[in-house]
Symmetry: C2
Subunit: 227 residues, 2 copies
């Protein structure tokens, strides 16, 4: 928790004219290794030696670039936010929509979420990292929560309000939004158990669509049952 700006401050790389892109270099390699290993094995179970080896660099570079293993973890959280923001865009307050438009938008969000959670190959590391931080209630979670999750959940609540006419910030609306999110998240978290029960080798194209169809059906059934 010392520097992170001591070396090159890679977020504003002056060596290229591209505005913001996927960074390269040792620093970026270490972050990529962190996203993968922290997500797969957990923070505590990941050694700095394993991180350096996967990044193709040496042990000391972690301390040099991030101060400590913990510093690398937070840098990974920053990178997660940066990439997620590129996909979703800044979470905005949706415009006024008809109930039917709001329902369609919710279904689209749900399907996008399933696709992101289950299939996106380049997103697998990011998803794994976030879920692991959730499971560990890690320090990177607070950052991700404040700067992304909160806004997204509010957006869903507003869409639910437009679709059903209920209050967007009522307790039950917020719980409803979580229950919609939760269905999708569980299919990712429970993947090993679910694949086993479904006799699926893994999540593929067809499996992802079967899940998305089921969750979309649930969504519409729940919304239609509301006042």
């Amino acid at each position: 928790m010392q520097n992170d700006s001591t070396p090159t401050d890679a977020s504003t790389d002056a060596s290229t004219d591209a505005p913001i892109d996927i960074p390269a270099g040792t620093r970026a390699d270490l972050i990529a290794a962190g996203l993968y290993l922290f997500g797969h094995d957990g923070f505590a179970a990941t050694s700095t030696r394993a991180l350096a080896a996967r990044a193709g660099t040496n042990l000391a570079s972690i301390a040099y670039h991030f101060g400590s293993k913990e510093g690398l973890r937070m840098a990974c959280a920053d990178e997660v936010l940066r990439r997620v923001s590129m996909v979703t865009g800044p979470a905005v307050t949706p415009p006024q929509l008809t109930p039917d438009q709001a329902r369609q938008r919710l279904e689209a969000m749900l399907r996008a979420m399933v696709g992101f959670l289950m299939q996106a190959p380049q997103a697998a590391d990011i998803v794994g990292f976030i879920l692991r931080e959730m499971a560990e209630d890690g320090p990177a979670l607070a950052q991700i929560y404040e700067r992304f999750f909160l806004h997204k959940h509010r957006e869903i609540c507003q869409l639910i309000a437009m679709a059903t006419g209920r209050d967007a910030e009522s307790e039950d609306t917020r719980l409803l939004a979580f229950s919609l999110l939760g269905q999708a998240v569980y299919f990712r978290i429970g993947q090993p158990v679910i694949c086993r029960r479904m006799a699926w080798p893994q999540y593929g194209q067809a499996e992802g669509r079967a899940i998305a169809d089921r969750l979309a059906a649930n969504l519409h059934a729940i919304l239609r049952a509301e006042p």
Copy 2:
């Protein structure tokens, strides 16, 4: 992975006449410590010293009773199965029910599950241990899956079939059962994030009921929308 039956074989304790009860002694203390610490901090982040300290015994007793730290993990999985079986009883095929009876039984199961996941104080360690094994895809998961989870999921599928008239083992029925389970599980996994967004200090009596009511409403909405 060597012994586990070398010492006293605590599962059939001859010193009491009670058939099967909560065991006592150093071995049981270590398992209790394992359930707590593995669930809270994860397997890798839990040291054998911390386990021994919490169990009020010494470091070497872990190797003596379980062969290794990994052996203690598997013994914890056994204990989870033993206690869960005491609560749920052997998963049985439900008798023939009317659609309305099946719906009511599903709601009762869902509410019991929410109570178990969110509130049961003596079950908190067990729940934490299982969820952690799921997140880590740990070796104890396979055992829990085979001897408990599979049967419970089948039971839910059969109840859904009775409530809606659809095939109990069709792909979509199995996915529907997972989506019902998933909603409940997510509220436990996402607890820190959810409590924050809901402005709840933690899950209590009222919060548990609000969640259960919302999930029950979802359940009936989904079932009613099916053919």
